[in-house]
Subunit: 544 residues, 2 copies
Amino acid sequence: MTKERLYLFDTTLRDGAQTTGVAFKLEDKRRICKVLDDLGLDYIEGGYPGANATDTELFASKPDFANATFTAFGMTKRAGRSLENDVGFQALLQSEADAICIVAKSWDYHVRVALGITNDENLESIAQSISAIVASGREAMLDCEHFFDGYKGNRDYAVAVARTAYEAGARWVVLCDTNGGTLPHEIHDIVTDVVTVVPGTHLGIHTHNDTENAVANSLMAVRAGCRQIQGTLNGLGERCGNANLTSIIPTLLLKSEFAEHFETGVTPARLRTLTHASRVLDEILNRSPYKHAPYVGESAFATKAGIHASAILKEPETYEHVAPESVGNTRRLLISDQGGRSNILAELDRLGIAISKDDPRIGNLLEEVKEREAKGYTYESAEASFELLARRALGEVPKYFTVDSFRVMVERRHNAVGDLVTVSEATVKVFINGDREPLWSVAEGNGPVNALDGALRKDLGRYQKYIEGVELVDYKVRILTGGTEAITRVLVESHDTTTGARWITVGVSPNIIDASFEALLDSINFKLMKDSAPAEHVKVVSRY
Amino acid sequence: MTKERLYLFDTTLRDGAQTTGVAFKLEDKRRICKVLDDLGLDYIEGGYPGANATDTELFASKPDFANATFTAFGMTKRAGRSLENDVGFQALLQSEADAICIVAKSWDYHVRVALGITNDENLESIAQSISAIVASGREAMLDCEHFFDGYKGNRDYAVAVARTAYEAGARWVVLCDTNGGTLPHEIHDIVTDVVTVVPGTHLGIHTHNDTENAVANSLMAVRAGCRQIQGTLNGLGERCGNANLTSIIPTLLLKSEFAEHFETGVTPARLRTLTHASRVLDEILNRSPYKHAPYVGESAFATKAGIHASAILKEPETYEHVAPESVGNTRRLLISDQGGRSNILAELDRLGIAISKDDPRIGNLLEEVKEREAKGYTYESAEASFELLARRALGEVPKYFTVDSFRVMVERRHNAVGDLVTVSEATVKVFINGDREPLWSVAEGNGPVNALDGALRKDLGRYQKYIEGVELVDYKVRILTGGTEAITRVLVESHDTTTGARWITVGVSPNIIDASFEALLDSINFKLMKDSAPAEHVKVVSRY
């Protein structure tokens, strides 16, 4: 049976970005673009060029996409203004987007009250805008805002909006449940009607989770004929979130009702990177991954007491609805974790560490990684710390130096002229291995970690030249269990201004200074290791 | 039109309790029973008497229920054993439960492999068990485990299990999607078939959220004929959670497709206590409420920039799918953004701060809030800091005390036996306003912020009694611009162990210690303000 093509449209960087507390930097957006492209998504709505500086810059120099169509979001031309004089619209046309998705009112009530124009004027603006986008050589899409409420209020007008866009040449007409209040069976009934006017091959669905039905609504829309689904990774979005692509994609590929009839840009191999993609977004947002997330959550395949591990392992499909590996997740067996070994081997291979599959030290390394992760370490992003851990375990890394002690002080007091000032100062005592005499360094900073970093990098004796030009470019803190009896996890990103290389290291401790210290140490040692800094005086053996 | 009765069955205390990390104490269970009963739920599955001490005790002395039927959970009689000799089953019969819900295999595969008995032996156990419960004068229910997979594997057997229980006198036969992998349209089709064998008036549905369709599956089952829905508050449950009653109940009452055809034990007045019920469970579990939860989440009705508060306030139904007050929630107008003035007024009103709409100080307050937000402050969650800011601006808050200086030190060194240890110590010098002599406090902690918090709360002179019992329960750090030249924003959540009150405060600075200090000060001052702590010696004027 020939399968129909289903298109996936990601709006994490646009609709998702509107979530309060979310503020993507340019580098974050580029990184997410890559993750989404690698996943095989068809459209990536990068943002709203012209509306803010970050988005304008993102669309000024298009990232390299292997699969996805780079899409810009914007508004339909304002009524009463020509296209040429609509600054916002022109910004869209001038961007490097390959597709442009504009939003328009499709509820006559909003046309009258929010826009203050007639129904026909609204249709005219839509037709002109879509035509202009098409004429510029790009794919044009229309987001029909509040479509389902608009349909319930005035079916003919809502449908007219959709038809107008389609006839003007829109590649996609997207039905949006903007306030998230429509139920699954209603979505099905309404879409069934709309496909008699706009063919499903040109119809998209964009739902919100205000009744906790966004995923079901998307699936229902597909069953009724839609062939594009809009959503976000991890369901990111304001209020109660957007349709969660992280939950929808596996269902489309792994449930026969969909897998037998449709294909997407996501292959089984790409699907296995889904859990990783989900975690990358969490890490960029500095959020704890949601343990109970469908498919990709840490607990999604956690077996409960009462089901013997052996029963699960023999016939997992009688207890699990899908295989965890298919989405890059693992089965958490309370007794033991079987999948761990192959995970570690894949990682080592990816880092270019040559080791035989049967090397007994792999088991030791796996144990150590699990213990550390139980303590709060995460190696999903802190690959440099992982590589350091692995190579140290295999006896490849000398101990270049030892920090004998450090002291960090933050003092807030009145200065000589009576102003209240805060001073942060750090003192570090270091022994370069092989040397008898320690090196002391003192540094001030704008905070305790900044001061400690300054002191650590001030004087490393003969190793100093290897760390010149290395700067700290990002610093993330996560409190892992809440309250001040918590574990702090720190992620530090370092950048070598000479080579452009970047690497991320991690530190964990109840004490934020200790955690930062650990991450900073890893950062320095990683650089020394990568540069094969000489360490003649030190004997190195494997730890296992 | 006569409405049909829909029954709501809560299993927060049984299925929800199986979530890893959840351990309800007896008092917790009693408290939750009250909340669920007040909500108007029909069945409260309190637990598994005989399986653990807490549940056995809970069922030994039944709580006073005004509405709900107290239900015990357990296993079908073991095959090959008489009812009298099945200890677990007898424990059920001896409990004070008014209804007993037993679980049985309904997938022939499990009957053979997990139980090791024949299909008929399984049916026989079910019939005997249900009959025994009925004979004991209670309502009997059967949870048909893995029903939907069982149906797909062997329709006739799964249906036979359901029929057997019904014919033996079960009040409810509950179809369970135990591994959570069934999709909404499948649920609809399968239930449509099953109601030809067991009438919908005796059919229940129990779903899990492994594909993020638990809510939709429950609604689909009702549309196909089920008249009992099983779920948990806040969707609590292992793996990806149970069907979320907090999302289902409002839909049943507020969406006409259901409200016109069904009635439940939840009245509109009881529905208004839903948000409170949700928060009580979070508080018992010591979890931060999920901001994006449908209906009851803090962000569920948060407006975004671009929609003026005035437009929303005039005709909220054109932007909101239901009225927030109907579920006991409130509309949160984000304090920053376009609609500034009306937003601020609405916030002040919500906080109970009486001020005339035209008071010139409102403009000043708005300016100050915008400046602070540009610096990194956020007041969406830190409402206590906002209230403090507003009331201070209006001259309502005295300056209770002044921190003259503080010093925080973190030192890592070898101790007397040569181990590397980290010590964090903070010293604070405070003038209680009106006093000549300062108070010094010193505290140690597991980190610099913990130490500073300890020192600040150690001795506040005559104000000490107001802060006894206040503890820090959550601490969040966000680095706002990256690198160590960054701004740090700290959010602190405080909890009054005496009253149960919680409040969140914010601090911003390039220095994490300063930022934490600011948030901690706000926390203390907020408490003193709320308690109207006396401050006779201090003259207070408005800042504007």
